[in-house]
Symmetry: C2
Subunit: 202 residues, 2 copies
């Protein structure tokens, strides 16, 4: 019986993994992708999908969690040391690329998941920016008259607003990182200090 | 028959108005308010509600449109002449108050309506900021290295991110307008120029 249940468990894990991967792909193309489409793309029946996920929200949550895990791996590779302005520009470059890739998935998440859950899923990326902002404040490069949590949220909002602008056809994806960096570096500048020129310190 | 249909039409208009007002109130308290709750608050039956609105999205759309119309009236009273920094601070003060009042309704709208429709509903407020930003650019107070549409979207994103921070319990409503103004004035500052001090030019 032991090996039988082991095999069943391995089967279940394979199905779950295939469903989550298919969900990330299907919802990444179309935020309204149906569970039937996702099951088909995963090569499993709808009954199997419903055996593992109680609702569409659970599927979206799992796909979003997977995208964030991948994102955290990519962000691990970003050098956040040195000049905080340059480090922030590097962070924006990589994380914008991740947001851009996950734009449709994010729309699905915003529709299906409570805002608190989306924030919770982003706590890994948020912690990275928090440390960087804290260091930039200690080095008098970033402003200290607004809370760190506020500045981190501003960065994420500006990034998501770039995704909106692209959807509205008013911005192209290749110019977005520059727009975000220029905006956020200015927003983070202490009152009385000059806004950094583009590419400053690079 | 003329006066009968006139009376019927007046009845229908009264019902629709009561439903939209009740929807704005109920959704303003709880973004998940049901159509039955809204019908009850409006003093009409569910059948009457469904006779006028085909879906929950239509009710949310009507409530949101009503809130925006009221908002446009309030914004008409704001003096956007004079020093662009001071005018922007005045705009933020009033429009943040409107966003703050409509926070729950906005959550309902974000869930039920496509992003394009929400943007369309905000075109009145957006046009006001566009003119103000264009004037500030002409007067060399606001940056010209980023498009006007981008700067307007940054303002709205920062405002909505304040609403998120309040929901997350990390910001109080009374401090939000100052945070938004300080952030946006910095974000709008031309590279190389100093970020205005709080209350600058006031």
């Amino acid at each position: 019986m032991g090996s039988k249940s082991t095999a069943k468990r391995a089967d279940a894990l394979r199905s779950i993994d295939a469903i989550v991967q298919a969900a990330a792909e299907c919802l990444g193309r179309n935020p309204e992708a149906s569970l039937s489409e996702i099951a088909r793309a995963a090569g499993v029946g709808r009954v199997t999908l419903y055996a593992h996920f109680a609702s569409r929200a659970e599927v979206v949550d799992a796909a979003m969690s997977r995208a964030i895990d991948r994102g955290n791996e990519a962000l691990d590779a970003v050098d956040l040391t040195g000049d905080p302005l340059v480090a922030l520009a590097r962070y924006v470059e990589v994380s914008w690329h991740l947001v851009d890739q996950a734009r449709a998935l994010l729309v699905a998440a915003q529709r299906e998941l409570p805002a608190g859950r989306i924030r919770e899923l982003h706590s890994g990326p948020a912690a990275r920016v928090e440390s960087l902002v804290a260091r930039g404040r200690a080095e008098h490069v970033f402003r200290t008259d607004l809370p760190i949590s506020w500045l981190v949220n501003v960065l994420h909002s500006v990034m998501h607003s770039a995704a909106d602008e692209i959807r509205a056809g008013r911005l192209t994806s290749d110019r977005a990182a520059d727009h975000i960096t220029a905006t956020v570096l200015a927003a983070f500048t202490p009152p009385g200090k000059p806004v950094p020129q583009p590419g400053a310190g690079a």
